[in-house]
């Protein structure tokens, strides 16, 4: 898998976004979008802990050598993918609890976050793939190469923009209230 997951002609990915099934993609795409906003090269793939355990382990074991710096893994229910990857790579693994039809993702959350001592997973909120991408960006930004510097700079700008958007919402709300409640 190592070969064809890299996008030819593109810069080598530094973040790997993986999920147990393509049905998780509508949730996990937000992680990819966040990374694109920060110009961080990434790859995305289906790597199922339960349906292709051998390849899953190979993916994790080879991730660091292929130049990946962070893995982002989404899974639902008895969500084993993030934790299993964390057990075979020294890279930080960000886990996204994907909510399924029942239990609102509480099973996914506990299956990802409650890892035993020795094997951490950086868990984000239920369905929180955008935050997973942003967390990966923050991690990439801790480095000392050019990419890291760019990301750090952009992150500061991004946070300022969050603030400005919230300000704008406040202006709009105050206006609306000034015109009276309907």
């Amino acid at each position: 898998m190592t070969a064809d997951t890299e996008m030819v002609g593109a810069p080598a990915p530094v973040v790997g976004i993986v999920m147990g099934s393509d049905s998780d993609w509508p949730v996990m795409r937000e992680a990819a979008r966040a990374l694109e906003e920060f110009d961080i090269p990434y790859e995305a793939d289906v790597v199922s802990a339960h349906r292709m355990p051998g390849e899953m382990i190979a993916y994790g074991q080879g991730a660091a050598a292929r130049g990946l710096r962070v893995l982002v893994a989404g899974a639902g229910g008895a969500a084993h993918l993030p934790g299993m990857l964390a057990s075979v790579t020294p890279l930080p693994v960000v886990g996204v609890p994907v909510p399924l039809k029942y239990l609102d993702g509480m099973d996914s959350l506990l299956s990802i976050v409650q890892m035993p001592a020795g094997v951490p997973v950086a868990t984000v909120s239920i369905g929180g793939a955008r935050n997973a991408g942003l967390l990966a960006a923050r991690i990439v930004g801790t480095g000392s190469d050019e990419l890291a510097g760019d990301v750090r700079e952009q992150m500061v700008a991004f946070q300022a923009e969050l603030r400005d958007q919230a300000h704008a919402k406040g202006v709009k709300l105050r206006d609306e209230v000034a015109r009276g409640l309907d």
Copy 2:
């Protein structure tokens, strides 16, 4: 591992009891005890999904060929062992949610029982290792060899004994009540 997990001179094990750490043994021992009551040969081992993922997968992949008919796996917290084994063996896997310090085993239960379609785990109650052993015995009893026949017979006797014990408790309680509440 295949070699030294078999007890030399003993009949080949048909049930494999595995757990993520020897700290699970005080809970999981009850599965072994139940199997001994039914004279079902078993092996017990530490097979950690998170600390020795390669060996864990090898254990699961080799289990059927070594003559095992059922796996019993106990794990706590983000309990991935039963599900990961189920993904690499065609054998039935019985999962025991081991309760840890917090959450009373609810995390363990959900991490084991909420498996995706395609990869079932036969989950028993929180801390229910005795029932895991009895379930393994029932499964062994579905076969058509001599061992299966013996187990079936014993299971009927076992259930009669459960009934007799409950009867005896009733007699004792009625006596106690007849003497008056303290």
Copy 3:
């Protein structure tokens, strides 16, 4: 009931799929479908613990003698069917927590899985009838007759197919990502 639950002209069923009401059938049908994929003869019936307790107990008590090897029982809410059957048969009983209108099946799950020592139920995920069928197939596959051998062989092929499907999904996802996010 013993007579007319067998499908005349068909091979004698080895798995009995039962549920408290025909309203559970849309969920439980997936267990039947899984067994058909593995060519395992089964029967399906409404056997209510609360509405026909006498027949329910008769069903469980007669199951082994009629040649059934595994029972699959689905129930919702205060789900007593799987556990009550397990108390009157030496066969392994697979329990399916059927989600009802409220609580997302958490009540069904706990009512099925938290059985007392002595009477195990092999519990699968909430609404996980397909996995119940697959677990029954794995159990049938532990035997030493021809059916068991066939099922074991098919199970290995089934697991390879799960892997291939996941691979194909990965190819599709990588293609989609390569074309750019919408």
Copy 4:
């Protein structure tokens, strides 16, 4: 069982207190104590849904004919006893969720209270055996015989006593506060 559960020489019991094991007696004894306070004759027995299902059903089926008016059933975990009894008797069944080692009785509560339409169980609080006894007393008090009249009268006095005790506690607390906090 019908014969020896009646206390010879005592008035025929009108309430049957049953539980799955004598280990539930320390909790369930409070139901008996409450009935004794109201001079309501009762019997107490071990009747296990899972260990003696046949006798359990016989107990429920014979209860009304033996003169019992209310059943009080305590059970823990996958607590099936109250609901199964309710399915074989037209009498009101009061269910007591007995807390076990894990989950604080939440599994017991849901297994008892979430009964399907048609088969009600009058559920009281987790570990609330005293209230189960008092509820049985209230039910006995709805009748038109002498016992019912006595119970109604005592219940009014009992409620007045609850009020007086609370008053006395208030006096004591105000005194304590007047002397200053330690």
Copy 5:
């Protein structure tokens, strides 16, 4: 309220069905329907613990004297109505946890069932108003007057009918399965 809640020309009600708001009526109507099936005269009213506490207490205090034998009270969220009524009447009070927009009725259930020692509420399932009506019928049936005798007889017939309906569903399901899964 005592005067106009009785239906003129009708037999005096023996069950009072009350709820905090008429928005609970679509749920609580099922309790009324169950009582009508058993020809048990009832009254239904809005009695809010939080919006008309004085009248609520008066309703409870006067209930027994007006000839009511059982109260059925439905409430949602911080559901105080059943418990407050139970504190001012010696009659048995059946509580129905009404599910609101959030939490699936778990808040209603705990607010009703977890009553302190001394003041029991007979709690049924979330949204289980039909069972509340049936439980009230069982309680009425414990008496020794003509109505009680009629109800007891009907309850036995009702339970037989539940069994017959379940049987019929089984026939239908076996037919459907015999024709093959779609």
Copy 6:
């Protein structure tokens, strides 16, 4: 922000309603409506703990000096706004748990109510913005100025109206029942 959040020409606001995003406004508007019913001047604004932490703290620190007497803060998920405001103002802060897409607001509730000793938040029900406004009104009504007196008087009238509305619903329900169930 201090300047433009005040509505020019209007009486100085005594309650500040704030929320993390304008997407909370459909919920929080009910707090504003309740205050308008009591003629209590208020302001409403977007003040995000996570997107504009500096302004959030400034808002809280300046609130008392600007004449506000109560803050009402709504937030969802990891809802930090009410607690953070409470840490920088001596005013009472009312917290409204806003339910998000998953978990029905249970995360919001716990994030708001479980404050450490020293920094209280007056938490209302999930989505309970109307009650937050009414609670703010009750608090304003504890004062000794003219506004407080007016509010106290109106609150008594408001409670009488709640009672009258409940009465009217009872009349309507009794009528409906008298005409027979459909």
Copy 7:
């Protein structure tokens, strides 16, 4: 009760601390302690919603006229006291969920916080009586009399002291770390 709950010779209480039983006092005493720190006169009493409903309602109805400005009510399990008081007084009511033997106070919390629209309770954390006292102090501090002014001033000092204590803990911790981990 109105007469003897006032402490003779002391300033008239402005906060009423009430609880369902004196067994809640070890928790609720912290509310009293907090008020004493702010020199706010208070009274404390046992007022049980379930054991003395009539007096409970009288207490709530008379509270404002007796000069109380805030009620603090603690209760556990099906905790009805805070909500019932809130329904009969226009004063703000602070509710303290008292944890009982099971469920860690989650039942108490939901029974208190999930009040219907119209009748708010200002809920604090499970066992959070100290915060209830501090919230009452903040509410008293919103007034315009001398006591209110004193409380406001002290609250600012109190918050500064919290900060200083936290600072001191930081110094101590940094020292400890500088000496090396044990």
Copy 8:
């Protein structure tokens, strides 16, 4: 604070471990221990979101400029510290849910992990401070300086050691079982 939190003479810290109170130190110390095993310089401090919000924000805002690469923040209950720090720093923040007296840390977990889009917190298990330290180490190891290289190398060795320890436990367990169950 910036000056005295650095340990004089020691290499500049790259990880900041902070907590709301020194009572969290017994839990959080495990994060420090993990970092020491990897020779990663760190600082530890009390930084309370609720008791010293100004300094908390200053700490977060200055962290990157002082050379810190990762923040590890532990908090319990309504745990706002990790999320508030994440809102004022571009660094990755690792959150440790500290369990308090009630709710087993479930409130802490949800308050930390359920962050809104835009502001991620890398959450680890309840009480999982050791994993927080290891996650910080993995993040430091993603860089390209000498420290990062050392950490990466050590992490691989650390994972091998985890495996070896698990192996050793397996040997010990197999021995114990071979000697027979007690």
